[in-house]
Subunit: 142 residues, 4 copies
């Protein structure tokens, strides 16, 4: 796999200083290659919802961060890249356990990047959620 254009450390520092409320979610980067990342959200009681499962907003935040990681792994540190669309299908209720996000590029154009993120639980085989999203990439000044 080709190398990421941003280090996992630089990416996490960008997320945690720039999106302060993400620090409540205990996310880490398992691997980061060009166009392909694996993130982990450690289980924590703050992320549960009524019914005893992990809340949708926590899963969406993990997916959005993984998507941001996928995009920056391919274009480098471009802070103004922004999500324009995110679609999530919730599949199976995750157990009270870590959630893993596997993200990859579906398309990298000059102006748009489209990504797919699959969320799994460490505690069972059924996938937790499937996400697709689009990032808008700011024009380069040239």
């Amino acid at each position: 796999m080709a190398e990421s254009r941003l280090s996992p450390e630089a990416f996490l520092e960008l997320v945690q200083s720039g999106v302060p409320f993400a620090r409540y979610l205990h996310m880490s980067m398992e691997s980061m290659h060009y166009g392909q990342v694996v993130m982990r959200m450690a289980y924590h009681p703050d992320t549960i919802r009524p019914g005893g499962t992990i809340s949708g907003p926590a899963l969406m935040t993990l997916a959005d961060c993984a998507m941001y990681g996928v995009v920056l792994s391919a274009i480098g540190r471009v802070e103004l890249a922004v999500t324009t669309n995110l679609n999530i299908n919730f599949l199976h209720r995750p157990a009270k356990a870590d959630v893993i996000a596997e993200g990859r590029l579906l398309k990298l154009g000059r102006r748009l990047a489209v990504c797919e993120i699959i969320l799994h639980s460490e505690a069972h085989h059924e996938p937790v959620a499937h996400v697709t999203g689009t990032y808008s990439i700011p024009p380069t000044k040239d």
Copy 2:
């Protein structure tokens, strides 16, 4: 407008005890009628993202809570109702100001509810995001 089948106070208590990380987002309910709610997310530095705007995950969390409010306003306190799909289009970057979510039912079936949420900023006219989502309603035992 018809009356909500859950009080705003009961709804917020359900969200804040059940989804602990939502309390970082300073949400309140402006109005809650049958199938129609208005929520507010107060501006707070924790919700910003790189580029000086409010982060996507904070906006998605607000939208998801408003959707939950719309559904419970129509079916009452059913904790096991869960989001099955959420689609968000980000429209204009919100200023550093409160965000208002206006949610309404598009359809209430026996098994699925479909909602629309529009996010506005208090600081400008352009809409911030448009969200549609589907909730699965558990079968009633009868």
Copy 3:
């Protein structure tokens, strides 16, 4: 309402010569203003599906054409504008009757336009489908 930057006649001619299979769907333009269109799909037995209702693909085709109309009403005749994302929620099964599509701009940026389309049946009040979509607008040469 501001004037459309393309006439309904020019728009329909563009659709029907450019998308030959759309002519099986008997679509017409009821009104076309800047950022806002109303299209009609006449009922025809070719558009039904198993179960005696109008098929999803016919409804999606109508929505996509209405979205194209919304975009061209605002930017004029730009053939290379293309859909990048379309999300449809089917709400109520339409009766065997004409379907009306009401489309409007949610956002017009330099590079992306986001639209909302609501599909109604002439035969009942419940909405048939809700659609959001994104168009990519090619850069102007200047």
Copy 4:
């Protein structure tokens, strides 16, 4: 791979008698197993759009039919199963060539099935579109 609960012939007959306008699209079933189908849409001038590529509605129709095939491959001939949500991201403009749809189940619940469809062109490697969709499965009478 497990066997489909509906034969490809029975499926295509169901589509072509039940969705008459689909016959303009020259679709065939390449393979059909439990929860996994491959369909082909033969290139035909009727499916082009302005700009010389295959129209979005033709691609969405192919995806919707493939999704229907995925669902029926797993639950058998249930005509009243209906799409409730479809989300499509268009990735690369297809050349004037056959388009292949590869569909699979992401989840099969008692009430909802979620599918993923990837569209490829026979003429190039870049994927044409990525689709996710949800089907509502009618309750069984028991």
